[in-house]
């Protein structure tokens, strides 16, 4: 845990709390009790928590307080869990989000409709 702020001039020494181990994408990590998934991973330098469902661009925490949903991950099989609000638990299994099939036309490659009007137009061409 190399990114910890151990000594702080005003807040003092960090509380050495109980250690908790959990998994993220198959790798085992250690964090402190009361860490969130987001803070425990960032302490290990892990910034990317998921890929954008459509573009595959990497995403990480943004607001860290539950508002933006950028840090959504899968926790013990449950999708769309916010890493910034979820405390780590012993043996918790966390998985990053991956690219998803397009909801409108998963089979079709090429131009994806960007608006409903475009979608209707493409449907009409079939």
């Amino acid at each position: 845990m190399n990114n910890r702020i151990v000594d702080h001039p005003v807040l003092g020494q960090i509380d050495q709390k109980r250690k908790v181990t959990f998994q993220f994408d198959g790798k085992t990590y250690e964090g402190f009790e009361n860490d969130t998934i987001a803070s425990a991973l960032l302490a290990h330098g892990v910034r990317t928590l998921r890929k954008h469902e459509e573009s595959g661009n990497p995403r990480g925490i943004y607001c860290n307080i539950g508002h933006c949903f950028e840090c959504r991950v899968t926790v013990d099989g449950e999708d769309n869990v916010r890493a910034c609000l979820t405390p780590i638990q012993e043996n918790m299994v966390v998985e990053s989000g991956q690219v998803q099939p397009h909801p409108l036309d998963p089979s079709k490659e090429g131009v994806k409709p960007r608006t409903y009007a475009e979608y209707k137009e493409q449907e009409g061409q079939k």
């Binding site: 990114n3 910890r4 702020i5 151990v6 702080h8 001039p9 005003v10 807040l11 960090i14 009361n34 860490d35 969130t36 803070s39 960032l42 302490a43 910034r47 990317t48 928590l49 954008h52 661009n57 990497p58 995403r59 990480g60 925490i61 943004y62 607001c63 860290n64 307080i65 539950g66 508002h67 933006c68 950028e70 910034c84 609000l85 979820t86 405390p87």
Partner: protein, 414 residues
């Protein structure tokens, strides 16, 4: 199903202060918050008051929590409220875990951060300044080796200092380049006007000079026009009102930012691009009241620039025109956490008076209302110079609405 007197949404200073008043008067209370710790945004705060004393959000939150727990307050963390349903005289508060039936709801959801989007801002390593604050002070995790703050305002200046304290290296603070969203935050003249409000915290004669004549617009114009090329230093870190971040670069994570020079109106000066290596970027667009739940349950809103955005209409007792729905804290306008705490006290007492049908504590309520004003006047960080005017506007809107409701009722009888 259990029938509660009040459900309090938000375990920050406003919510907890209200809960304490309600519990002291034996009301059935549940406090809900989706964060795993109590304190809300207060938790991350750490700054030195002009008196030299430190304001430590962790300690302040702990004090409120200890008091609330000594009164056996039912505080549920990790509960996200997604709906408030209005029955004839009661409300149902919906969370993923369960529903709560209650006579009253206090919505103390606080504030959210406004974005200042610039190209590249979805890269891992870009975060809101509040995110960096919580990581640093609460989780004690360094957000990176070297970063830059995009957005110059009261909040970002305070948090930049907190990052420095924890040993996190910051290159500088600069503006975002102008786009449809960042308009005001990209205007050096407006930023200067707003920044002048925290000038007493800045050890820079230049800013202090500008702020002393804050009323004189032409002096501020001069400050912006003759802004030093190397920025004004606050705690050794340059603050640039004449430079802006145009883009954040990197493939899988932040690697650098592109900085450009801007005119006093925020226009980019050609051929001024400079690439600055950083591994994290904090975006600071300021705060706005987080008020969706008030909208869901039918509270009318009013826009107040002074208060930071759209706020639910309410009176001095923190009552909204929807009987049984109360608001307190930053949902009513962006102010310090001390003001939020006093507002929470007012809301708590108002709910007690309604539920117990007693006038015994009316005096206490009046005192609490004047405490809100006294705390506001004494605040060392003013988010906006015209907060009292904004507050007056909201109260007037409440009176108008209630009058209109009465007229409507009379017409029904006719």
């Amino acid at each position: 199903m259990q029938q509660l007197d009040v459900v309090i949404i938000g375990a920050g200073p406003a919510g907890l202060a209200a809960a304490i008043q309600c519990r002291e008067n034996d009301l059935d209370v549940v406090v809900l918050d989706e964060f795993p710790k109590v304190g809300g945004r207060l938790l991350g705060q750490l700054h030195q008051e002009p008196s030299g004393e430190w304001w430590n959000g962790i300690e302040e939150s702990k004090a409120l929590q200890t008091k609330a727990e000594s009164l056996n307050t039912d505080i549920r963390l990790g509960y996200s409220v997604y709906h408030i349903e209005k029955l004839e005289k009661q409300f149902v508060v919906h969370t993923k875990q369960q529903k709560f039936v209650t006579n009253n709801v206090l919505i103390a959801t606080g504030a959210a951060e406004s974005p200042a989007p610039i190209p590249g801002w979805t890269l891992p390593g870009v975060m809101s300044i509040g995110a960096a604050q919580v990581m640093t002070n609460v989780h004690r995790v360094k957000v990176g080796e070297k970063g830059i703050v995009v957005g110059v305002n009261v909040l970002s200046a305070a948090i930049a200092r907190e990052l420095q304290l924890a040993g996190v290296d910051l290159h500088s603070m600069a503006l975002p380049t102008r786009n449809v969203v960042s308009e005001d935050q990209a205007n050096p003249r407006l930023v200067m006007e707003r920044l002048s409000r925290i000038a007493h915290l800045a050890p820079s004669k230049f800013i202090q000079f500008g702020s002393r004549f804050a009323k004189w617009k032409w002096v501020q114009d001069l400050v912006v026009q003759y802004y030093p090329k190397n920025g004004i230093k606050m705690w050794g870190m340059p603050i640039y009102l004449n430079k802006a971040i145009k883009q954040i670069n990197g493939t899988d994570k932040v690697e650098s930012v592109t900085m450009v020079d801007v005119t006093m109106h925020g226009d980019i000066i050609g051929n001024s691009e400079e690439e600055i290596p950083v591994d994290f970027v904090c975006i600071a667009g300021g705060l706005y009241p987080l008020a969706e739940l008030a909208g869901v349950v039918g509270c009318p809103f009013i826009y107040s620039e002074e208060l930071g955005g759209h706020v639910p209409v309410h009176n001095e007792k923190m009552e909204t025109p929807v009987a049984g729905i109360y608001v307190a804290g930053n949902i009513t306008g962006i102010e310090s956490s001390k003001v939020a705490r006093e507002q929470g006290k007012v809301a708590g007492l108002a709910i007690v008076i309604k539920e117990k049908n007693t006038s015994e504590i009316t005096g206490k309520l009046q005192t609490a209302i004047s405490e809100v004003k006294a705390t506001r006047d004494a605040a060392s960080i003013q988010f906006h110079p015209h907060i009292p005017e904004g507050r007056a506007k909201v109260s007037a809107a409440y009176d108008d609405l209630v009058k209109a409701q009465e007229v409507e009722k009379e017409l029904e009888y006719v």
